[in-house]
Amino acid sequence: MARIVVDPITRIEGHLRIEAVVENGVITDAFSSGTMVRGIEKILLGRDPRDAWAFTERVCGVCTTVHALASVRTVEDALGISVPKNAELIRNLMFCAQYVQDHVVHFYHLHALDWVDIVQVLSADPKETSKIARSISRWPKSSPKYFADVQKRIKTFVDSGQLGIFANGYWGHPAYKLPPEVNLLAVAHYLEALEWQKEVVKIHAILGGKNPHPNYLVGGVPLSINTEEVNALNTERLNHINKLIGDAIVFVEQVYLPDLLAVAGFYKDWASIGGGLSNYLAYGDLPTASYNQPESFKLPRGAILDRNLSEVHEVNGRDQNEIREYITHSWYEYEGGNNKSLHPWEGETKFNFTGPNPPFEHLNVEEKYSWLKTPRWKDHAMEVGPLARMLVAYASGRTEVQDVVNDALGRLNVPVAALFSTLGRTAARGLETQLVAHWMKEFYDDLIANIKSGNTSTFNDSKWDPDTWPETAEGVGMTEAPRGALAHWIRIKDKKIENYQLVVPSTWNASPRDAKNQRSAYEQSLIGTPVNNEDQPLEIIRTIHSFDPCIACAVHLYDPDGKHIHQVQFNQRGL
């Protein structure tokens, strides 16, 4: 029996640690630990609720705008504010742009190299790659010369040995199954995606005033619509957005999806590995009417238990019996004791670090072992993320979603049950991207129609003035970050934040065990996973990366080491 440690689990850096117990080449137990503390809840106490979005937006480098969205909705929910139709549409457009960018980046830059052996690229025949590329897509960059050039570039990087992404892989591992030519195709698109992702996020700069960290506003969006005005959302800017949306649809349909299906075809064994939990939770998002009408969401709200796709349970963030957080195995303490759970309105953020100081060999998993709390829905451990959203939509009878899911299952020739797996999770993300890219165009068309009808309102100021607020109020703002269900809870007293709690997607998925010793999604998904070589646990990384891990945090530090560093010092007595 061996205990494998992967820390960090993300490709180059990060703050998630996995310890897995391997017996006879198969994982029999696993522990997931968030190794950095997030203290944003404490920072928000006593502040103006209308400012909270700007703080929460910086919690994470990849989910940035969705935290701002959850935050403004929380305050709007508490104060009973509904936002104008245009504001809802503009928020949807920013949401969609974030998804398309984030999912593409996840596939190519954070996950593809778990399946694509970059060193194999060097032995590929570019002519053959070209043939494959042309057989699966109309994407124009597909000539033998193009792929030969990419191959040359990669050779330079591999030879130099300097780039982290090439140095940190398990190249040559027997679990890599793609022919060299498909590896080359994927790596060429890795590079193209890197250039392309810069474009689609320009939608954030246009609609949010700046990027990174675009602006939000309680009661609407901080943007005026005037087709003639230079500084407003004008015709030129709208046309630019339309073009970016069109380009995004083409990239997703001609590059991302064909690659996803081509790669998946070689890894069908992963359709029965990594399923983990059998419960799925989605808060849903993309209102077509308003946020207060969840039934109008493109991505519906609901919960699935025991993989039963014929029943979707209602989810209510305000019901204090539904979403609750445990700290039994987390480095916090509750006034009511270690085995209690709390609804986020009653949530407490009191640190109690009892873990080992580095360097150490293993965490003491009998006690507390993570900085993440453990959320539960009606005491069930739930998986969140693209797979949960697609399953809830599928089970809710959304034909748009059923069609793309069934089509992909048909092309791969696998049953619906294949969705409950590592491969299913990765495929669900791609299918969702296709849907979201098209929905982005629908929302754009709705916005244009609204503007043409003379409706340019973007802000509801009726409750902006704190004098209009009640003495106390409580709210919840729910959304879906690309990596899963995200919500903020607020209690307002005397116009200030009295309590603020975030329950983020990676808390649902990456948390430690609860008081009943139930595993969360990451830990459960690793049980039964084969490990070919304990020194190169590629299989663990595949499954954990399929969740798109992101341990949100607000701490930032340098520790000096490294080889090529040239140091100069001044200001020796700085203060």
Binding site: G39, G164, H556
Partner: protein, 138 residues
């Protein structure tokens, strides 16, 4: 945050100053891949961030790391961070000169937004020194 936010505070201070021609200041926050284009567009990038290196708080160390692996192990709290960006710049073939101004801080145990009184007082001087250094190197 606390004194770990010194980079943001120095950037905010620089926003209020008249910067030399050709120099722009960006509060990159936790921007991840969203920052790629900003970095690509520059000839030289001066990064300002906090460092916990045991030196006297307020000490500035100028580092010129070349590759992502030269950067400290715990470079950032965010799962797509500067190291991924540096690698990406190489892959795309346009790499700016990068200088990292690391400002030594003392770690605080409780998360707060504000800088300590001493660090807050030192912000203008840190900014001025960085600006002076910047002018010499562009």
């Amino acid at each position: 945050m606390g004194d770990e936010g010194v980079g943001v505070r120095v950037a905010q201070y620089l926003f209020s100053q008249k910067l030399p021609e050709g120099v722009t200041c960006l509060d990159g926050g936790t921007g991840g891949f969203h920052l790629l284009e900003h970095l690509q567009e520059a000839d030289t990038v001066f990064l300002i961030d906090a460092i916990n290196d045991g030196q006297h708080p307020g000490t500035i160390t100028v580092l010129t790391p070349r590759y992502s692996k030269d950067y400290p192990a715990t470079l950032t709290a965010h799962d797509i961070g500067l190291k991924d960006l540096i690698d990406s710049l190489y892959l795309l073939g346009k790499v700016p000169n990068i200088r990292l101004f690391a400002v030594s801080i003392k770690l605080q145990s409780e998360p707060v937004m504000e800088l300590s009184a001493e660090m807050d007082k030192a912000v203008p001087r840190i900014a001025d020194q960085i600006l002076k250094e910047t002018l010499q190197r562009i």
